[in-house]
Symmetry: C2
């Protein structure tokens, strides 16, 4: 989850790519908008307001997917701002849901094995949103800025408060002279789910990966200009924890598309890999008879023990 332009699609596209289309159901909660763009303008409501979305149906559909049931998912098209024919979404091993209000109420929140919130600094989010909305959605810069101003109260009231429900909060930040593919990444890992132990991966602390341990959370900082070699070592170490999912290994993580060019971002790759770690261990916990990642049951504990062994 995260505000409009926070980088959700960039993160999830890489995860979808690595898991494979046949393994993952991916969609946006934007599909659950109650009104089309014209209706929203008439009513004077932003898409960030819960009343502008079928919140109970979103919750129902997340629950059905969690139970392994299919859904007939509505489809909202961003280019026209209207609804298309609904699509049948069958149950698959993984579901990745991105959007604005997916952690709004408890019923929804309980459906996720992992809750990730994207919280870039506002100036970076504006830049990303401008880039995307002017190129892919046909808006002018002034229109995007005006829309952001109109949305700010709802963003403050409904979107940003969801951060507190996240297990992982990700903030990309522009360092000095940083390119889009060399942004620093900060991950806040909370103890609300079993987090991977990254401490053996800490580098020199200069420009690499650093960890600040708190009581029930830790901050992991990955420098945007981390040496490719050091990033590879870190990624290798996380992949080793995922030995039981080694078939997923590929070089597709960390891709950032800017215009027509695809760049590799080491910090993005590490962030995606940490999320992938959670997806894969949660799935293994379910396969071992547990009810998921968040539940503290035997299945989950067994996987944790397994993961802990690998960490030695």
């Amino acid at each position: 989850m995260g505000d409009s332009g926070a980088g959700k699609t960039t993160i999830t596209a890489g995860l979808e790519g690595i898991l494979g289309e046949d393994q993952v159901t991916a969609f946006s909660t934007d599909d659950y908008h109650r009104y089309d763009r014209e209706q929203r303008a008439e009513i004077g409501i932003t898409p960030l307001h819960p009343d502008a979305n079928y919140m109970d149906i979103l919750s129902q559909h997340l629950t059905l997917l969690r139970q392994g049931e299919p859904i007939l998912k509505p489809v909202y098209g961003h280019s026209g701002g209207t609804f298309g024919p609904p699509v049948y979404v069958g149950s698959k091993p993984f579901a990745i849901v991105e959007g604005l209000l997916g952690y709004h109420d408890e019923g929804m929140r309980d459906c996720y094995d992992l809750r990730v919130y994207l919280a870039p600094p506002e100036e970076l989010r504006l830049k990303w949103k401008l880039q995307r909305d002017s190129s892919k959605r046909g808006y002018t810069e002034d229109e995007v800025q005006a829309e952001l101003d109109k949305r700010e109260p709802d963003s403050a009231q409904f979107i940003r408060p969801q951060e507190r429900h996240a297990d992982v909060v990700v903030s990309f930040k522009e360092g000095e002279g940083a390119e889009a593919h060399s942004l620093d990444a900060e991950m806040l890992l909370r103890d609300t789910v079993p987090q991977p132990d990254l401490s053996p991966l800490i580098g020199s602390g200069e420009r690499g990966i650093t960890i600040d341990e708190g009581d029930s959370e830790r901050h992991v900082n990955i420098a945007g200009d981390i040496e490719s070699e050091q990033a590879s070592e870190i990624e290798e170490a996380i992949w080793e924890k995922l030995h039981f999912a080694s078939h997923l290994r590929s070089e597709r993580l960390g891709e950032v598309t800017i215009g027509d060019d695809v760049h590799r971002s080491e910090s993005l790759a590490v962030v995606q890999l940490v999320i992938l770690y959670h997806l894969v261990t949660a799935k293994a916990a379910v396969a071992l008879g547990g009810s998921g990642h968040r539940a503290e049951d035997e299945g989950s504990a067994a996987v944790q023990e397994d993961a802990a062994t690998v960490e030695q």
Copy 2:
């Protein structure tokens, strides 16, 4: 349920009218078509085939409505043969579902308190379908006939076999020189649900209401040219069984629209009233703590006893 042109909408419109929009959710299973008209033509499949419909989603939505949950219902438009934006359907006291394949599998069938199947003679159905499809859906007579020929195998394989799962089978028939509003009606009432005892209502047997009692079913015949006075007496007697729902009484039952004219059909009114009897007693059974009409539980038995008392 019933084949295309069997008169489903004429029956349900009267029931919706009498129950009131705020009390009843009414929709067609046509909304659950998997393909639009163009796609069906490309694939070469008729809308009568289960594969041309989201059967599992229809079943899921019927179950959700039965549980009092809302659904986001797809919308198929017959004029254009395409899908519109889905609509939010909240839970209401009554749900009336009409369509082609609603009794196709057991999961669906269990969702209904009453299952009605419309089985007019094929020549009458053709006449009705021609009337409707040429006036409201813009087809020529040849097109309607060609479509019927193409659909016949699926109709025989998937639609007509559903008749056996109905609690009430309704057949309107054209008598000698009968007008559209003076058709004979035959109702087959099966003992699969507690049926109203209509025996005190039998008239002379000449041109009125007659009942043939079988072991686990009875045939009720209502003459299309039944005297208005006799029909009123019968309706009055059924309304008396529904004393606890007397607020529903109005003169809106039995309306048939032909072209721009609205006619009153006494036989249609009696058929609608028998269905209404089931809807209302099933609702009362649920209100008394039972699980519905079909379930043989205490709540249901209590209503039956109550109804029986009234019948004396």
